[in-house]
Amino acid sequence: MRYRRGGRAGVVAALPMLAVVTVPLVALASASSPAEIAAGVRHPLFLPALWLSARTTVASLAVIVVAGTPLAWWLARSSGRGVRVAELLVDLPVVIPPAVMGIALLQTFGPNGLLGPALASLGVRLPFTAAAVVVAQVAVSAPFYVQGAAAAFRRLDEDLLIVARTLGQSPAGAFFRIAVPLALPGMVTGAALSWARALGEFGATLFFAGNFTGSTQTMPLAIYTALESDTRVAVALALVLAAASVLLLVPLRTVPTLLSRRANARRRRA
Protein backbone atom coordinates (compact mmCIF):
# COMPACT_ATOMS: atom_id res chain seq x y z
CA MET A 1 0.00 0.00 0.00
CA ARG A 2 1.29 3.45 -0.86
CA TYR A 3 1.97 5.65 2.09
CA ARG A 4 0.01 8.88 1.85
CA ARG A 5 1.51 11.71 3.79
CA GLY A 6 -1.70 13.50 4.78
CA GLY A 7 -4.05 10.55 5.15
CA ARG A 8 -7.85 10.87 5.09
CA ALA A 9 -8.01 12.47 8.53
CA GLY A 10 -5.49 15.08 7.39
CA VAL A 11 -7.60 16.01 4.37
CA VAL A 12 -10.75 16.31 6.49
CA ALA A 13 -8.93 18.52 8.98
CA ALA A 14 -7.61 20.73 6.17
CA LEU A 15 -11.00 21.30 4.52
CA PRO A 16 -12.57 23.87 6.90
CA MET A 17 -9.73 26.37 6.39
CA LEU A 18 -9.78 25.85 2.64
CA ALA A 19 -13.56 26.42 2.71
CA VAL A 20 -13.23 29.65 4.68
CA VAL A 21 -10.85 30.94 2.01
CA THR A 22 -12.74 29.79 -1.07
CA VAL A 23 -16.49 29.72 -0.29
CA PRO A 24 -16.87 33.55 -0.01
CA LEU A 25 -15.13 33.99 -3.37
CA VAL A 26 -17.38 31.39 -4.97
CA ALA A 27 -20.40 33.12 -3.43
CA LEU A 28 -19.21 36.44 -4.81
CA ALA A 29 -18.66 34.99 -8.25
CA SER A 30 -22.11 33.35 -8.34
CA ALA A 31 -23.99 36.35 -6.90
CA SER A 32 -23.91 38.46 -10.05
CA SER A 33 -25.33 37.83 -13.48
CA PRO A 34 -23.37 39.12 -16.49
CA ALA A 35 -26.00 41.84 -16.94
CA GLU A 36 -25.51 43.02 -13.36
CA ILE A 37 -21.75 43.06 -13.78
CA ALA A 38 -22.15 45.14 -16.92
CA ALA A 39 -24.39 47.53 -15.00
CA GLY A 40 -21.79 47.76 -12.24
CA VAL A 41 -19.05 48.57 -14.73
CA ARG A 42 -21.23 51.34 -16.23
CA HIS A 43 -21.96 52.80 -12.78
CA PRO A 44 -20.56 56.36 -12.39
CA LEU A 45 -18.45 55.27 -9.39
CA PHE A 46 -16.67 52.52 -11.31
CA LEU A 47 -14.31 54.08 -13.85
CA PRO A 48 -12.99 56.95 -11.71
CA ALA A 49 -12.27 54.49 -8.89
CA LEU A 50 -10.57 51.98 -11.20
CA TRP A 51 -8.44 54.71 -12.81
CA LEU A 52 -7.51 56.19 -9.41
CA SER A 53 -6.59 52.77 -7.99
CA ALA A 54 -4.42 52.02 -11.03
CA ARG A 55 -2.60 55.37 -10.88
CA THR A 56 -2.06 55.46 -7.12
CA THR A 57 -0.92 51.84 -6.76
CA VAL A 58 1.59 52.20 -9.62
CA ALA A 59 2.90 55.42 -8.03
CA SER A 60 3.07 53.72 -4.61
CA LEU A 61 4.94 50.77 -6.04
CA ALA A 62 7.45 53.08 -7.74
CA VAL A 63 8.03 54.96 -4.47
CA ILE A 64 8.34 51.70 -2.53
CA VAL A 65 10.89 50.16 -4.93
CA VAL A 66 13.01 53.31 -5.25
CA ALA A 67 13.04 54.13 -1.53
CA GLY A 68 12.70 50.58 -0.20
CA THR A 69 15.58 48.97 -2.10
CA PRO A 70 18.35 50.97 -0.36
CA LEU A 71 16.66 50.26 2.99
CA ALA A 72 16.45 46.53 2.20
CA TRP A 73 20.12 46.50 1.16
CA TRP A 74 21.16 48.22 4.38
CA LEU A 75 19.05 45.84 6.52
CA ALA A 76 20.53 42.80 4.75
CA ARG A 77 24.17 43.90 4.68
CA SER A 78 24.67 45.49 8.10
CA SER A 79 24.72 44.14 11.60
CA GLY A 80 24.39 45.74 14.99
CA ARG A 81 21.65 46.89 17.29
CA GLY A 82 20.60 49.80 15.06
CA VAL A 83 19.79 47.44 12.20
CA ARG A 84 17.77 45.09 14.44
CA VAL A 85 15.73 48.06 15.67
CA ALA A 86 15.19 49.25 12.09
CA GLU A 87 14.00 45.76 11.11
CA LEU A 88 11.42 45.92 13.88
CA LEU A 89 10.28 49.39 12.77
CA VAL A 90 9.89 48.22 9.16
CA ASP A 91 7.60 45.41 10.35
CA LEU A 92 5.40 47.73 12.42
CA PRO A 93 2.89 48.62 9.65
CA VAL A 94 2.19 44.89 9.18
CA VAL A 95 0.89 44.50 12.73
CA ILE A 96 -0.59 47.96 13.26
CA PRO A 97 -4.24 48.20 12.09
CA PRO A 98 -4.58 50.33 8.92
CA ALA A 99 -7.09 52.63 10.65
CA VAL A 100 -4.45 53.40 13.27
CA MET A 101 -1.97 54.16 10.47
CA GLY A 102 -4.55 56.55 8.96
CA ILE A 103 -4.90 58.47 12.23
CA ALA A 104 -1.11 58.47 12.66
CA LEU A 105 -0.68 59.93 9.16
CA LEU A 106 -3.24 62.67 10.00
CA GLN A 107 -1.29 63.43 13.17
CA THR A 108 1.82 63.76 10.99
CA PHE A 109 0.61 65.62 7.91
CA GLY A 110 -2.70 67.14 9.13
CA PRO A 111 -3.12 70.91 9.62
CA ASN A 112 -2.20 70.56 13.32
CA GLY A 113 0.12 67.59 12.82
CA LEU A 114 3.85 67.19 13.30
CA LEU A 115 4.85 68.22 9.77
CA GLY A 116 1.54 69.78 8.62
CA PRO A 117 2.30 73.46 9.44
CA ALA A 118 5.77 73.23 7.87
CA LEU A 119 4.30 71.73 4.69
CA ALA A 120 1.48 74.32 4.70
CA SER A 121 4.05 77.14 4.79
CA LEU A 122 5.48 75.64 1.60
CA GLY A 123 2.00 75.63 0.09
CA VAL A 124 1.61 71.85 0.34
CA ARG A 125 -1.59 70.42 1.78
CA LEU A 126 -1.48 66.64 1.81
CA PRO A 127 -4.56 65.17 3.61
CA PHE A 128 -7.62 64.36 1.48
CA THR A 129 -5.73 64.49 -1.85
CA ALA A 130 -4.69 61.80 -4.35
CA ALA A 131 -1.14 62.23 -3.01
CA ALA A 132 -2.47 61.27 0.43
CA VAL A 133 -3.82 58.05 -1.08
CA VAL A 134 -0.31 57.24 -2.29
CA VAL A 135 1.23 58.10 1.10
CA ALA A 136 -1.28 55.84 2.88
CA GLN A 137 -0.62 52.97 0.45
CA VAL A 138 3.15 53.35 0.76
CA ALA A 139 3.04 53.44 4.57
CA VAL A 140 0.92 50.29 4.78
CA SER A 141 2.36 48.16 1.98
CA ALA A 142 6.10 49.00 1.92
CA PRO A 143 7.08 46.35 4.52
CA PHE A 144 6.16 43.51 2.15
CA TYR A 145 8.62 44.69 -0.50
CA VAL A 146 11.35 45.66 1.97
CA GLN A 147 11.17 42.28 3.72
CA GLY A 148 11.17 40.34 0.44
CA ALA A 149 14.09 42.29 -1.02
CA ALA A 150 16.10 42.15 2.23
CA ALA A 151 15.62 38.37 2.45
CA ALA A 152 16.81 38.01 -1.16
CA PHE A 153 19.85 40.23 -0.52
CA ARG A 154 20.71 38.19 2.60
CA ARG A 155 20.90 35.01 0.53
CA LEU A 156 23.61 36.48 -1.74
CA ASP A 157 27.04 34.87 -1.56
CA GLU A 158 29.40 37.47 -0.09
CA ASP A 159 32.28 36.16 -2.22
CA LEU A 160 30.43 36.99 -5.46
CA LEU A 161 30.31 40.65 -4.46
CA ILE A 162 33.98 40.68 -3.42
CA VAL A 163 35.01 39.02 -6.71
CA ALA A 164 32.97 41.58 -8.69
CA ARG A 165 34.79 44.40 -6.87
CA THR A 166 38.24 42.85 -7.50
CA LEU A 167 37.25 42.62 -11.18
CA GLY A 168 36.91 46.39 -11.31
CA GLN A 169 33.30 47.09 -10.34
CA SER A 170 32.43 50.01 -8.08
CA PRO A 171 30.01 49.29 -5.20
CA ALA A 172 27.16 50.49 -7.45
CA GLY A 173 28.41 48.35 -10.34
CA ALA A 174 28.56 45.22 -8.17
CA PHE A 175 25.06 46.02 -6.88
CA PHE A 176 23.42 46.44 -10.28
CA ARG A 177 25.37 43.76 -12.18
CA ILE A 178 25.49 41.03 -9.52
CA ALA A 179 23.23 41.68 -6.52
CA VAL A 180 20.09 42.84 -8.34
CA PRO A 181 20.01 40.12 -11.04
CA LEU A 182 20.52 37.40 -8.43
CA ALA A 183 18.00 38.86 -5.96
CA LEU A 184 15.42 39.69 -8.64
CA PRO A 185 12.99 36.79 -7.99
CA GLY A 186 12.70 37.76 -4.30
CA MET A 187 12.38 41.45 -5.19
CA VAL A 188 9.58 40.72 -7.68
CA THR A 189 7.68 38.59 -5.16
CA GLY A 190 7.96 41.35 -2.56
CA ALA A 191 6.87 44.00 -5.05
CA ALA A 192 3.81 41.97 -6.10
CA LEU A 193 2.78 41.46 -2.47
CA SER A 194 3.17 45.19 -1.83
CA TRP A 195 1.12 46.02 -4.88
CA ALA A 196 -1.66 43.64 -3.84
CA ARG A 197 -1.71 45.15 -0.37
CA ALA A 198 -1.81 48.70 -1.79
CA LEU A 199 -4.66 47.75 -4.14
CA GLY A 200 -6.77 46.57 -1.20
CA GLU A 201 -5.87 49.47 1.11
CA PHE A 202 -8.98 50.81 2.85
CA GLY A 203 -8.61 51.96 6.46
CA ALA A 204 -5.60 54.25 6.25
CA THR A 205 -6.86 55.73 2.98
CA LEU A 206 -10.34 56.46 4.39
CA PHE A 207 -9.02 58.30 7.46
CA PHE A 208 -6.12 60.10 5.82
CA ALA A 209 -7.36 60.72 2.27
CA GLY A 210 -11.12 60.57 2.66
CA ASN A 211 -13.61 59.17 0.16
CA PHE A 212 -14.03 61.66 -2.69
CA THR A 213 -15.01 60.33 -6.10
CA GLY A 214 -12.29 61.02 -8.65
CA SER A 215 -9.63 62.25 -6.24
CA THR A 216 -9.37 59.83 -3.31
CA GLN A 217 -12.04 57.17 -3.84
CA THR A 218 -10.12 54.00 -4.75
CA MET A 219 -11.80 50.69 -5.63
CA PRO A 220 -12.20 49.44 -2.04
CA LEU A 221 -13.73 52.77 -1.00
CA ALA A 222 -16.04 52.75 -4.02
CA ILE A 223 -17.29 49.31 -2.93
CA TYR A 224 -18.01 50.73 0.52
CA THR A 225 -19.87 53.70 -0.98
CA ALA A 226 -21.86 51.57 -3.43
CA LEU A 227 -22.87 49.16 -0.66
CA GLU A 228 -24.80 52.00 1.03
CA SER A 229 -26.95 52.62 -2.04
CA ASP A 230 -26.99 49.49 -4.19
CA THR A 231 -25.65 46.08 -3.18
CA ARG A 232 -25.54 44.87 -6.81
CA VAL A 233 -23.13 47.63 -7.80
CA ALA A 234 -20.96 46.82 -4.78
CA VAL A 235 -20.86 43.16 -5.82
CA ALA A 236 -19.91 44.05 -9.40
CA LEU A 237 -17.13 46.35 -8.16
CA ALA A 238 -15.95 43.67 -5.76
CA LEU A 239 -15.84 41.10 -8.57
CA VAL A 240 -13.70 43.35 -10.73
CA LEU A 241 -11.32 44.02 -7.84
CA ALA A 242 -11.17 40.29 -7.07
CA ALA A 243 -10.40 39.55 -10.72
CA ALA A 244 -7.63 42.18 -10.68
CA SER A 245 -6.19 40.60 -7.54
CA VAL A 246 -6.30 37.11 -9.02
CA LEU A 247 -4.59 38.46 -12.15
CA LEU A 248 -1.92 39.81 -9.81
CA LEU A 249 -1.58 36.47 -8.06
CA VAL A 250 -0.73 34.67 -11.30
CA PRO A 251 2.46 36.67 -12.05
CA LEU A 252 3.21 36.66 -8.31
CA ARG A 253 3.41 32.87 -8.47
CA THR A 254 4.95 32.51 -11.91
CA VAL A 255 7.38 35.41 -12.44
CA PRO A 256 9.93 34.40 -9.76
CA THR A 257 9.85 30.84 -11.05
CA LEU A 258 10.20 32.06 -14.63
CA LEU A 259 13.13 34.27 -13.66
CA SER A 260 14.96 31.33 -12.09
CA ARG A 261 14.08 29.10 -15.03
CA ARG A 262 15.40 31.62 -17.54
CA ALA A 263 18.83 30.19 -16.78
CA ASN A 264 17.72 26.78 -18.02
CA ALA A 265 16.15 28.24 -21.14
CA ARG A 266 19.43 29.97 -21.95
CA ARG A 267 21.28 26.71 -21.46
CA ARG A 268 19.00 25.01 -24.00
CA ARG A 269 19.58 27.79 -26.52
CA ALA A 270 23.35 27.51 -26.11
Binding site: I162, R165, T166, G173, A263, R266, R267, A270
Partner: protein
Protein backbone atom coordinates in the same frame (compact mmCIF):
# COMPACT_ATOMS: atom_id res chain seq x y z
CA UNK B 1 57.31 41.49 -8.69
CA UNK B 2 57.54 41.15 -4.92
CA UNK B 3 54.80 41.81 -2.40
CA UNK B 4 54.52 42.20 1.35
CA UNK B 5 51.42 42.06 3.53
CA UNK B 6 50.90 42.69 7.20
CA UNK B 7 47.33 42.93 8.48
CA UNK B 8 45.45 42.98 11.75
CA UNK B 9 41.79 42.17 11.19
CA UNK B 10 38.83 41.13 13.29
CA UNK B 11 35.79 38.98 12.53
CA UNK B 12 33.51 38.77 15.55
CA UNK B 13 35.69 37.64 18.42
CA UNK B 14 38.37 36.23 16.09
CA UNK B 15 41.55 38.30 15.69
CA UNK B 16 44.03 37.94 12.84
CA UNK B 17 47.55 39.39 12.99
CA UNK B 18 49.70 38.03 10.20
CA UNK B 19 52.57 39.01 7.90
CA UNK B 20 53.14 37.27 4.57
CA UNK B 21 55.50 38.09 1.70
CA UNK B 22 56.55 36.67 -1.65
CA UNK B 23 58.05 37.27 -5.08
CA UNK B 24 57.16 35.86 -8.50
CA UNK B 25 56.87 32.27 -7.25
CA UNK B 26 53.67 30.96 -5.65
CA UNK B 27 53.49 31.16 -1.85
CA UNK B 28 51.51 28.50 0.02
CA UNK B 29 49.32 29.33 3.01
CA UNK B 30 48.37 26.38 5.19
CA UNK B 31 46.58 26.03 8.50
CA UNK B 32 43.70 24.27 10.23
CA UNK B 33 40.07 25.33 9.65
CA UNK B 34 39.27 28.60 11.39
CA UNK B 35 42.89 29.76 11.50
CA UNK B 36 42.11 32.92 9.53
CA UNK B 37 43.27 31.99 6.01
CA UNK B 38 40.14 33.22 4.24
CA UNK B 39 39.99 36.45 6.28
CA UNK B 40 43.63 37.14 5.34
CA UNK B 41 42.83 36.68 1.64
CA UNK B 42 39.72 38.85 1.90
CA UNK B 43 41.67 41.55 3.73
CA UNK B 44 44.27 41.63 0.93
CA UNK B 45 41.54 41.77 -1.74
CA UNK B 46 39.79 44.61 0.06
CA UNK B 47 36.64 42.60 0.82
CA UNK B 48 37.26 42.58 4.58
CA UNK B 49 38.50 45.86 6.06
CA UNK B 50 41.56 45.38 8.31
CA UNK B 51 41.97 47.20 11.61
CA UNK B 52 45.59 48.06 10.89
CA UNK B 53 48.52 47.05 8.70
CA UNK B 54 50.20 47.64 5.35
CA UNK B 55 49.79 45.91 1.99
CA UNK B 56 52.33 46.51 -0.76
CA UNK B 57 52.34 44.79 -4.16
CA UNK B 58 55.30 45.77 -6.36
CA UNK B 59 55.68 49.52 -6.01
CA UNK B 60 52.04 50.15 -5.12
CA UNK B 61 50.73 50.62 -1.60
CA UNK B 62 47.21 49.16 -1.46
CA UNK B 63 46.62 49.73 2.22
CA UNK B 64 48.52 51.56 4.93
CA UNK B 65 46.74 52.33 8.17
CA UNK B 66 49.51 54.73 9.31
CA UNK B 67 49.49 56.75 6.09
CA UNK B 68 45.69 56.54 5.74
CA UNK B 69 45.92 54.70 2.39
CA UNK B 70 42.93 52.46 1.74
CA UNK B 71 42.45 51.57 -1.93
CA UNK B 72 39.02 50.26 -2.92
CA UNK B 73 39.02 46.59 -4.10
CA UNK B 74 38.45 47.67 -7.72
CA UNK B 75 41.70 49.68 -7.68
CA UNK B 76 43.94 47.03 -6.07
CA UNK B 77 44.68 44.89 -9.16
CA UNK B 78 44.22 41.75 -7.05
CA UNK B 79 42.79 38.56 -8.52
CA UNK B 80 40.64 36.68 -6.00
CA UNK B 81 39.33 33.15 -6.53
CA UNK B 82 37.29 32.20 -3.45
CA UNK B 83 36.64 28.70 -2.17
CA UNK B 84 33.33 28.25 -4.02
CA UNK B 85 35.03 29.69 -7.17
CA UNK B 86 32.75 32.77 -7.11
CA UNK B 87 31.39 32.22 -10.61
CA UNK B 88 28.42 34.52 -11.33
CA UNK B 89 25.53 32.05 -11.79
CA UNK B 90 23.44 34.33 -14.05
CA UNK B 91 26.20 34.83 -16.65
CA UNK B 92 27.55 32.23 -19.05
CA UNK B 93 31.21 31.24 -19.04
CA UNK B 94 32.26 33.76 -21.70
CA UNK B 95 30.43 36.59 -19.90
CA UNK B 96 32.02 35.54 -16.61
CA UNK B 97 35.52 35.59 -18.06
CA UNK B 98 34.96 38.90 -19.89
CA UNK B 99 33.44 40.48 -16.76
CA UNK B 100 36.75 41.92 -15.53
CA UNK B 101 37.20 43.90 -18.76
CA UNK B 102 33.78 45.59 -18.51
CA UNK B 103 34.94 48.17 -16.00
CA UNK B 104 38.44 48.63 -17.49
CA UNK B 105 39.38 52.11 -18.70
CA UNK B 106 39.87 53.08 -21.46
CA UNK B 107 36.68 51.28 -22.36
CA UNK B 108 36.99 48.41 -24.82
CA UNK B 109 34.14 47.58 -27.23
CA UNK B 110 32.02 44.63 -26.12
CA UNK B 111 33.14 42.56 -29.12
CA UNK B 112 36.82 43.05 -28.24
CA UNK B 113 36.20 42.05 -24.62
CA UNK B 114 34.44 38.89 -25.70
CA UNK B 115 37.17 38.09 -28.21
CA UNK B 116 39.84 38.47 -25.52
CA UNK B 117 37.87 36.22 -23.15
CA UNK B 118 37.33 33.64 -25.91
CA UNK B 119 41.04 33.66 -26.77
CA UNK B 120 42.06 33.03 -23.15
CA UNK B 121 39.45 30.27 -22.79
CA UNK B 122 40.95 28.67 -25.90
CA UNK B 123 44.43 28.93 -24.45
CA UNK B 124 43.15 27.16 -21.33
CA UNK B 125 41.44 24.38 -23.33
CA UNK B 126 38.02 25.67 -22.29
CA UNK B 127 36.77 27.08 -25.61
CA UNK B 128 33.96 24.50 -25.65
CA UNK B 129 32.57 25.87 -22.36
CA UNK B 130 32.08 29.46 -23.59
CA UNK B 131 28.30 29.40 -23.88
CA UNK B 132 27.58 27.10 -20.93
CA UNK B 133 26.00 28.34 -17.70
CA UNK B 134 27.92 27.81 -14.44
CA UNK B 135 25.28 25.41 -13.03
CA UNK B 136 26.17 22.91 -15.78
CA UNK B 137 29.94 22.91 -15.08
CA UNK B 138 31.92 20.35 -13.08
CA UNK B 139 34.11 21.52 -10.20
CA UNK B 140 37.25 21.31 -12.30
CA UNK B 141 35.66 23.30 -15.12
CA UNK B 142 34.50 25.96 -12.66
CA UNK B 143 38.01 26.28 -11.28
CA UNK B 144 39.45 26.76 -14.79
CA UNK B 145 36.82 29.40 -15.59
CA UNK B 146 37.42 31.22 -12.29
CA UNK B 147 41.16 31.24 -12.95
CA UNK B 148 40.71 32.42 -16.54
CA UNK B 149 38.46 35.24 -15.33
CA UNK B 150 40.99 36.34 -12.70
CA UNK B 151 43.95 36.13 -15.11
CA UNK B 152 42.26 38.08 -17.93
CA UNK B 153 42.18 41.16 -15.70
CA UNK B 154 46.02 40.81 -15.43
CA UNK B 155 46.26 41.16 -11.65
CA UNK B 156 49.51 42.01 -9.86
CA UNK B 157 48.80 39.32 -7.25
CA UNK B 158 46.52 36.27 -7.39
CA UNK B 159 44.77 34.93 -4.30
CA UNK B 160 43.53 31.33 -4.56
CA UNK B 161 41.47 29.95 -1.67
CA UNK B 162 41.73 26.14 -1.66
CA UNK B 163 41.62 25.85 -5.46
CA UNK B 164 41.74 22.05 -5.34
CA UNK B 165 39.77 21.20 -2.21
CA UNK B 166 36.39 20.42 -3.75
CA UNK B 167 37.69 18.27 -6.61
CA UNK B 168 37.90 14.50 -6.99
CA UNK B 169 41.32 12.84 -7.33
CA UNK B 170 41.46 12.90 -11.14
CA UNK B 171 40.30 16.52 -11.46
CA UNK B 172 42.73 17.45 -8.69
CA UNK B 173 45.74 16.10 -10.59
CA UNK B 174 44.49 17.78 -13.73
CA UNK B 175 43.91 21.22 -12.19
CA UNK B 176 47.14 21.02 -10.16
CA UNK B 177 49.10 20.65 -13.40
CA UNK B 178 46.99 23.35 -15.04
CA UNK B 179 47.55 25.81 -12.18
CA UNK B 180 51.29 25.12 -11.95
CA UNK B 181 51.69 25.63 -15.70
CA UNK B 182 49.73 28.89 -15.91
CA UNK B 183 51.23 30.44 -12.78
CA UNK B 184 54.75 29.65 -14.05
CA UNK B 185 54.29 30.85 -17.65
CA UNK B 186 52.55 34.09 -16.68
CA UNK B 187 54.90 34.78 -13.80
CA UNK B 188 51.94 36.10 -11.79
CA UNK B 189 52.68 36.09 -8.04
CA UNK B 190 50.15 33.99 -6.15
CA UNK B 191 49.16 33.26 -2.58
CA UNK B 192 47.55 29.81 -2.52
CA UNK B 193 45.62 28.35 0.41
CA UNK B 194 45.89 24.56 0.41
CA UNK B 195 45.27 21.49 2.56
CA UNK B 196 47.58 19.17 0.63
CA UNK B 197 51.39 18.95 0.67
CA UNK B 198 51.33 17.66 -2.92
CA UNK B 199 49.86 21.00 -4.04
CA UNK B 200 52.75 22.84 -2.39
CA UNK B 201 55.31 20.77 -4.32
CA UNK B 202 53.41 20.71 -7.62
CA UNK B 203 52.89 24.50 -7.66
CA UNK B 204 56.60 25.04 -7.00
CA UNK B 205 55.95 27.09 -3.88
CA UNK B 206 59.29 28.00 -2.36
CA UNK B 207 57.85 29.40 0.84
CA UNK B 208 55.08 28.12 3.05
CA UNK B 209 53.30 30.11 5.78
CA UNK B 210 51.54 28.25 8.59
CA UNK B 211 48.58 30.12 10.10
CA UNK B 212 47.15 28.96 13.41
CA UNK B 213 44.74 30.92 15.64
CA UNK B 214 45.18 34.05 13.53
CA UNK B 215 49.02 34.16 13.70
CA UNK B 216 51.82 32.88 11.49
CA UNK B 217 53.43 30.25 13.71
CA UNK B 218 56.01 28.99 11.20
CA UNK B 219 57.30 29.89 7.76
CA UNK B 220 60.00 28.65 5.44
CA UNK B 221 60.81 26.34 2.54
CA UNK B 222 58.66 23.19 2.36
CA UNK B 223 61.70 20.97 3.08
CA UNK B 224 62.66 22.84 6.23
CA UNK B 225 59.07 22.77 7.53
CA UNK B 226 58.90 19.04 6.83
CA UNK B 227 62.23 18.51 8.58
CA UNK B 228 61.38 20.48 11.72
CA UNK B 229 57.62 21.00 12.07
CA UNK B 230 56.67 23.52 14.76
CA UNK B 231 53.27 21.95 15.55
CA UNK B 232 51.36 18.73 15.19
CA UNK B 233 49.42 20.29 12.31
CA UNK B 234 52.60 20.95 10.30
CA UNK B 235 53.90 17.44 11.05
CA UNK B 236 50.69 15.87 9.78
CA UNK B 237 50.57 18.18 6.77
CA UNK B 238 53.94 17.02 5.50
CA UNK B 239 53.65 13.50 6.97
Amino acid sequence: MNWRVRVCARAGSFALDAAVAGDGAPVALIGPNGSGKTILLRAISGGHPPVAGRIRVGGRILYDSDAGVRLAPERRRIGYVPQGYGIFPHLNVLENVAFGLAAARPRQPRGDRRAAAAALLGEMDCAHLARRLPATLSGGEKQRVALARALLAEPDLLLLDEPLAALDAAARRDIRRFLAGHLATRNTPALVVTHDARDVRALGARSVYVLEGGSVIQRGAPESLAASPATEFVREFFG
